[in-house]
């Protein structure tokens, strides 16, 4: 799957979407969902929780193992994608459509990659 050019990417394989109103949506890239395998649980923070760049905001659990998901921004959770709690497989089916959290009051962002730089990173990891 091509990585959408309108998104930015973290080295830890999260994607970030600028919603244009000061908030950002965060999810896992297609590479990440493929590496993790079939997901059976997603643990998300609650609205109002604070998130911090480089810190885990939740985790995803596949049949084989659990993995932390890291926040690329510092801010406050203003929405979570509740559907994922009952249907974690949506991340496997459509990684770029299955946003996990939406964050506003963003005060810090880590260095993010554009889609071309992310693709370069992936070919190095291969």
């Amino acid at each position: 799957m091509a990585n959408p050019t309108n998104l930015l990417y973290a080295k830890s394989h999260e994607w970030v979407q600028d919603m244009g109103d000061g908030s950002f949506r965060i999810g896992l890239t297609d590479y990440a969902q493929n590496e993790l395998g079939d997901l059976v649980f997603v643990n998300l923070p609650q609205e109002g929780d604070e998130v911090e760049t480089g810190a885990a905001f939740g985790d995803v659990e596949s049949v084989k193992a659990v993995s932390d998901v890291y926040s690329p921004v510092t801010g406050v959770v203003c929405a979570i994608n509740e559907e994922l709690l009952d249907h974690p497989e949506m991340i496997n089916q459509d990684a770029y459509g299955a946003w996990m959290i939406q964050v506003n009051e963003v005060s810090d962002k880590e260095e993010l990659l554009d889609s071309a730089a992310y693709e370069a990173l992936l070919s190095e990891e291969a």
């Binding site: 395998g37 079939d38 059976v40 649980f41 659990e61 596949s62 049949v63 084989k64 659990v66 496997n92």
Partner: protein, 360 residues
């Protein structure tokens, strides 16, 4: 440096995700994924490369005596073509390995052992042999493929003379042609479904594997990896060495007492288990009620009291939930009791259930 089984190239060609396991390179899953592979075995059929398992043969007038001494189960009343499961214990009653023993003749037994314990088992067995018996380690000269699932017989019948297929669970046909290749075929498996394990020459393995996949295509047969192998065995309540037992846990402590025949004159570990008496612990099943998947080594609590630990656990795709096996003190954990399992620092509710979570 890991070794390849004779089917390595097949796995790569099929898009298998190769991982190191017990000294071998094997697929943990294919593009289908663990859940689809698990469900295929429950509903149609799956094909597994199990060539990494070890095959040891004991032959001679004293073969039976040695089998009786090394293993806890009783093999004195078997017929040719029968198979029995048994733990193999050390002097303290702890489990060296669990294995299945095939009686080829009264003076000849094939022992199939876990890949992870192969070297340990070969050393243990050969150093404990007495009398007139020959030890042969055939492992490098044997490939093994498992065909598991309700469609297994229908698929196998397309490639052989159906009259030669072993009819009963835990029996085998010593030599029959499958897709033209000589195989030992047993009606055994590690999934909780009907199925077969086929032993063949390494040179024939790839062609046999491909013939099975072709014949089984219309029956829904797909190749399955180690990930599904583990979820299937756990869902069926089957123990795995290194988890439900190890060299410090006796078979009686881990729910395998029915495979320990204390009225045999003698076997390694008998005295220790006699002296231990009835164990205060048992292996139980836990159905996780709260949110989370308990895996191995999770503490199990009743209130503030630590009563044991999980030994294995995962998401079970057919049952649609998380289940675990645990070794716990018997008295506070009767069937139906609610306990708590600590998963990554959080206590999650679970119900004590029978260990055979799924029965076909």
């Amino acid at each position: 440096m890991e070794r390849k089984t004779p089917l390595y190239d097949c796995h790569v060609a099929l898009g298998g995700k190769i991982v190191p396991f017990a000294g071998y390179l094997l697929p943990v899953q294919y593009g289908t994924g663990v859940i689809a592979e698990h469900m295929a075995v429950r509903k149609q059929a799956g094909l597994f490369d199990v060539s990494h398992m070890g095959e040891i043969v004991l032959t001679g007038p004293d073969a039976l005596n040695n089998v009786q001494m090394l293993l806890t189960n009783d093999f004195s009343d078997m017929e040719d073509g029968q198979i029995r499961y048994s733990p193999m214990c050390n002097d303290k009653g702890g489990v060296v390995d669990d294995l299945i023993a095939y009686r080829l003749r009264q003076d000849c037994y094939l022992l199939v052992v876990n890949a992870a314990n192969h070297d340990k088992d070969a050393a243990w067995i050969s150093s404990h042999l007495t009398g007139d018996v020959r030890f042969d380690d055939l492992s490098d000269g044997v490939a093994q493929i498992a065909l598991q699932g309700p469609q297994s017989q229908a698929i196998l019948e397309k490639l052989c003379n159906p009259a030669e297929i072993p009819a009963k669970y835990y029996t085998f046909t010593q030599k029959m042609a499958v897709a033209g290749f000589d195989c030992l075929v047993s009606r055994t498996g590690y999934t909780g479904e009907d199925g077969f394990e086929l032993y063949c020459a390494p040179a024939d393995a790839a062609a046999l594997w491909n013939a099975l996949l072709d014949a089984g295509k219309e029956n829904g047969l797909i190749p399955c990896g180690l990930g599904a192998r583990d979820t299937l065995r756990l869902e069926a309540g089957m123990p795995l060495y290194g988890h439900e037992m190890n060299d410090e846990i006796t078979p009686k402590q881990t729910g395998l007492g029915m495979f320990v025949k204390m009225d045999k004159p003698d076997f390694i570990g008998k005295k220790a288990m006699e002296e231990m008496g009835v164990p205060s612990v048992k292996r139980c099943g836990l159905k996780i009620i709260g949110r989370g998947i308990a895996r191995e080594n999770c503490p199990v609590y009743v209130g503030d009291r630590l009563i044991g630990h999980t030994t294995s656990g995962t998401h079970c795709p057919f049952l649609g939930g998380a289940y675990a096996m645990a070794i716990v003190e018997k008295e506070p954990a009767p069937l139906g009791a609610t306990v708590e399992v600590e998963i990554r620092g959080k206590r999650v509710a679970a119900e004590v259930v029978k260990v055979q979570f799924y029965k076909r």
